[in-house]
């Protein structure tokens, strides 16, 4: 096939640079304004906006469910709601937040919008596929949402067999079908990114000139491709199990429920890095821009992204230490889990070193980035506690785990999402938001988050199991504290929704590069025109070409 790759077809008659004929074209937001032009959009920027609006909606639903959970836990005896209501609420929270918010969050919005801009391309490689992936996502997500909200599902987002296959009387089947469908959307997005990053880079945009954001999205996309099909199979088997009693996960027929956990975590542990890596990409853009300094250790950070995406496939068994897997497997998975510390440390220390001797502006995106670094470090290191076998035997399935993964998912992904949203908001919308309100919200969220989740580390070590609708009274104080923190956190989430929407109509017009940041996305107008660049962008000499350069840049870019 490569045989024919270099031969241009007879029908190829168009001129090579259509840009030359483009005059002042309206930006992508104003190019067309009909509903049809949005719902049939193939422009990656418009599809990103479609995703942004939909995942914000899912975030609100998931957050409301979290509010219900925290409300129930204010009292220990379950007086506020029945156990069933509580179980359904935490299932909605988990299913919606994991499958419909966290996994698509940064890649499908920022990745979709920015990857072509950052590499100097006109669009993703497969624009129609991109739109398809949004429709697939919405179809699956709405299907599941209807079943978890109207019917209710009480299995938790993990759907462990045989509870989900043979015992739960709730609407598990439609929920499973919806989640399976959403998986295809992930695969299509990942496929599009991989192909785009490989083939669509502007001339001169070599791999080591790519922003870290693109590197982390490349790594994320590999996980989408390599892990998602396995959860699809696991869910198909679960659906068949529930509908037809296949038996492979059902002990009543000699099946093995632990096998489902293996298949589930083969995807779901790497899925943690689907959520984390794009956030790391966002932070790697924000920190140099607001420190006015070249990213420290660029190559190490780039390699660490690929390293994380690979190592993550070897550690899934650390979710199953007490679940009946063999001791050998537990020892192997535990030891390999410690290897995750290496690339993670690379990232954190390099961000810190980037700030060193910079010239810092503590604007909203930078506040989120600094909060991210702190919370990610705590979340990551408590992950090592959990990977330690003897500690895991005590805190597995307690609030310690809940606190740990919220430090990664909320302290990490959500903070990076909000930081990125503020950083690129001028680029997305062409408007500036209110900086004072932005800073206040960032601080509120940081404070609210810690008040909510730090007590849960203590609760977990004291031995309070997770997914408990009722609990012993001595845990009430810490639970009330946690619920109070959740109120602060909620306020912190509401502010940006208000002032960002307000800025759409009343915000100051944004210049092309409001932060004086480097990267091709800032070389075009805000918002960008339909085909991204009016004239082909000039690829910079080095990435992160900020005024302050550490001497190491010579080592790194010989």
């Amino acid at each position: 096939m490569s045989a024919s790759g270099t031969v241009e077809g007879a029908a190829h008659r168009e001129p090579h640079s259509p840009e030359a004929t483009i005059g002042r074209k309206p930006d992508y937001l104003h190019a067309e304004s009909t509903l049809r032009s949005w719902f049939l959009a193939t422009d990656h920027k418009r599809i990103a906006i479609l995703y942004l609006v939909s995942i914000t909606g899912f975030f609100v639903i998931g957050a409301l469910a979290a509010g219900v959970v925290r409300l129930a836990l204010v009292v220990p005896n379950g007086a506020i709601m029945s156990n069933d209501t509580y179980n359904k609420a935490f299932t909605i929270h988990g299913v919606v937040m994991v499958w419909f918010f966290l996994i698509p969050s940064i890649p499908a919005t920022f990745g979709n919008f920015l990857i072509p801009l950052m590499i100097g391309a006109k669009d993703l490689a497969f624009p129609k596929l991109n739109l398809t992936s949004w429709y697939v996502f919405m179809a699956g997500a709405l299907f599941t949402l209807v079943s978890v909200v109207l019917g209710g599902v009480d299995t938790g987002w993990t759907f462990y067999a045989p509870l989900s296959t043979a015992f739960s009387n709730t609407w598990v089947l439609p929920a499973l079908i919806g989640v399976t469908i959403v998986g295809f959307s992930s695969i299509l997005t990942g496929l599009n990114f991989v192909v785009t990053i490989h083939t669509m880079r502007a001339p001169g945009m070599t791999w080591f000139k790519l922003p870290i954001f693109v590197w982390t999205h490349y790594a994320t996309s590999l996980i989408f491709l390599l892990a998602t099909p396995v959860i699809t199979t696991a869910l198909i088997l679960l659906i068949a199990e529930r509908a037809f009693h296949v038996g492979v996960f059902d002990p009543a027929f000699g099946g093995d429920p632990v096998l489902f956990q293996h298949l589930f975590w083969f995807y779901s542990h790497p899925a943690v890095y689907i959520m984390v890596l794009p956030g790391m990409g966002v932070i790697s853009e924000i920190v140099p821009a607001f420190a006015r300094k070249k990213l420290f250790g660029y190559r190490f950070v780039a390699y660490a992204s690929i390293g994380l995406a690979s190592v993550t496939f070897f550690v899934w068994g650390h979710h199953m230490f007490i679940n009946g897997q063999s001791d050998l497997a537990s020892l192997v998975f535990s030891s390999l889990s410690f290897a995750v510390a290496v690339p993670s440390a690379v990232k954190v220390y390099n961000w810190t070193a980037t700030i060193h001797k910079g010239s810092l502006r503590l604007d909203t995106p930078m506040l989120y980035a600094m909060g991210y670094i702190g919370l990610f470090v705590l979340g990551g290191l408590t992950g090592l506690y959990l990977a330690t076998l003897a500690i895991n035997q005590h805190v597995h399935a307690t609030y310690f785990v809940v606190a740990h993964f919220h430090y990664i998912m909320v302290g990490g992904t959500v903070l990076a999402f909000l930081g990125g949203l503020h950083f690129w908001w001028p680029k997305f919308t062409g408007r500036m938001y209110s900086e004072p309100w932005g800073r206040v919200s960032a601080l509120l969220i940081f404070l609210g988050f810690n008040v909510t989740f730090f007590p849960q580390f203590i609760l977990g070590y004291l031995g309070m199991p997770r997914r408990y609708a009722t609990y012993p009274p001595e845990f009430q104080l810490l639970n009330v504290l946690s619920s109070a923190g959740a109120t602060i956190l909620a306020a912190g989430y509401i502010f940006p929704m208000l002032y960002l929407v307000y800025s759409l109509w009343f915000g100051r017009k944004a210049p092309a590069n409001p932060w004086d940041a480097k990267g091709l996305e800032w070389e075009t107008s805000s918002p960008p025109p339909t085909l991204n660049f009016v004239s082909p962008p000039e690829v910079p000499r080095i990435p992160y070409d900020y005024p302050i350069q550490a001497t190491e840049s010579k080592d790194q870019h010989r």
Partner: protein
């Protein structure tokens, strides 16, 4: 019902050597965590203040050889944390290999209760009495979904799988009453699937086995079963279904719809649970109770009847059966 816990606590009670060792491990790990993170936090804060835009800081290149520094901060934290892998793994391996003289206690999980059976045959529901100073090996299995037996006081939990036995062993060294939980989410009443574990001196344990254990345990166990099989949902006073209550039922005369009168004794109660449609009661109430034939094992049935026997008469406190 309240185990020996303070109203507010900040560190869990450690009732075994493994628990103390786990605490030491996590404390040491926390020291390492602080050593690795506090410098980062201080550095970020210090840099943020020192190098703010417009400040008069020295921003000349530091000339640090970056490859060396990169490799050092990749490897040093990793090697330090590996110590904790080894430490944790060693404790884990110990906790997975029970000594040969361990006393075997069976644990069976089902939605939503635990049933324990002692080596000498006595059994308990949700609560567990064990001697200290003696290795105990729990042999764990489930009758339905996956559960997990969790004893925070000894820092151990192990899944109860439906298809095969799992094991957990420990040697308690502190007398007292502590929580016992199900820690693998198992459906509606997951959070009430638990009770308390009481560690006793060996002599007290023998006493308990001989006297209290078998007897006093029965009624309390019956109460748990009364909840678990859903009897309480209809028969507890004030329930919407309004099924007949049990206050003063045992030993009383019951009017039947066909005019007969029977005495509510053990045998009749048993028949009525297994075949509710027989012996229809006088009073014209609608018969809605499903048959429990084949659904309640014989030993559980006995405990439920014991509970109904002891059900307090109207006016008495329900506490009597707790």
């Amino acid at each position: 019902m309240t185990p020996d816990h303070a109203a507010i606590q900040f560190w869990p009670v450690a009732a075994s050597v493994k628990a103390v060792e786990t605490d030491e491990l996590i404390l040491a790990f926390t020291v390492l965590t602080l050593a690795l993170t506090v410098p980062v936090f201080i550095a970020i804060t210090w840099f943020a203040l020192r190098y703010r835009e417009g400040s008069e800081a020295d921003r000349s290149p530091s000339g640090i050889r970056s490859n060396l520094i990169e490799i050092s901060w990749m490897l040093i934290p990793f090697l330090l944390t590996l110590i904790f892998f080894a430490w944790g793994a060693q404790l884990f391996v110990q906790s997975r290999n029970a000594p040969p003289d361990a006393m075997v206690v069976e644990a069976v999980g089902r939605q939503w209760m635990w049933k324990f059976q002692h080596a000498t045959g006595q059994s308990e529901i949700n609560d567990l009495h064990l001697p200290i100073g003696q290795p105990i090996k729990m042999r764990i299995i489930s009758q339905d979904v996956i559960h997990a037996l969790y004893l925070p006081a000894v820092r151990m939990q192990v899944a109860a799988l439906p298809d095969r036995y799992t094991e957990m062993w420990f040697k308690a060294d502190k007398v007292g009453t502590f929580h016992l939980y199900c820690s693998e989410y198992c459906g509606t009443d997951h959070s009430v699937m638990g009770g308390k574990v009481t560690f006793m001196n060996p002599g007290d344990y023998q006493d308990w086995l001989v006297h209290a254990g078998a007897q006093q345990g029965k009624v309390a166990a019956g109460r748990v079963l009364y909840q678990a099989y859903g009897c309480a949902g209809c028969h507890e006073p004030g329930s919407p279904v309004g099924a007949p209550g049990f206050a003063g039922l045992y030993g009383s005369k019951v009017q039947l719809a066909d005019g007969r009168t029977v005495t509510a004794d053990d045998g009749w109660l048993r028949d009525k649970i297994l075949n509710p449609n027989g012996d229809k009661l006088a009073g014209g109430g609608k018969q809605v109770m499903p048959s429990f034939a084949g659904r309640i094992p014989e030993d559980d049935l006995g405990r439920i009847i014991d509970f109904i026997k002891a059900y307090p008469g109207t006016g008495q406190s329900a506490e009597a059966t707790r």
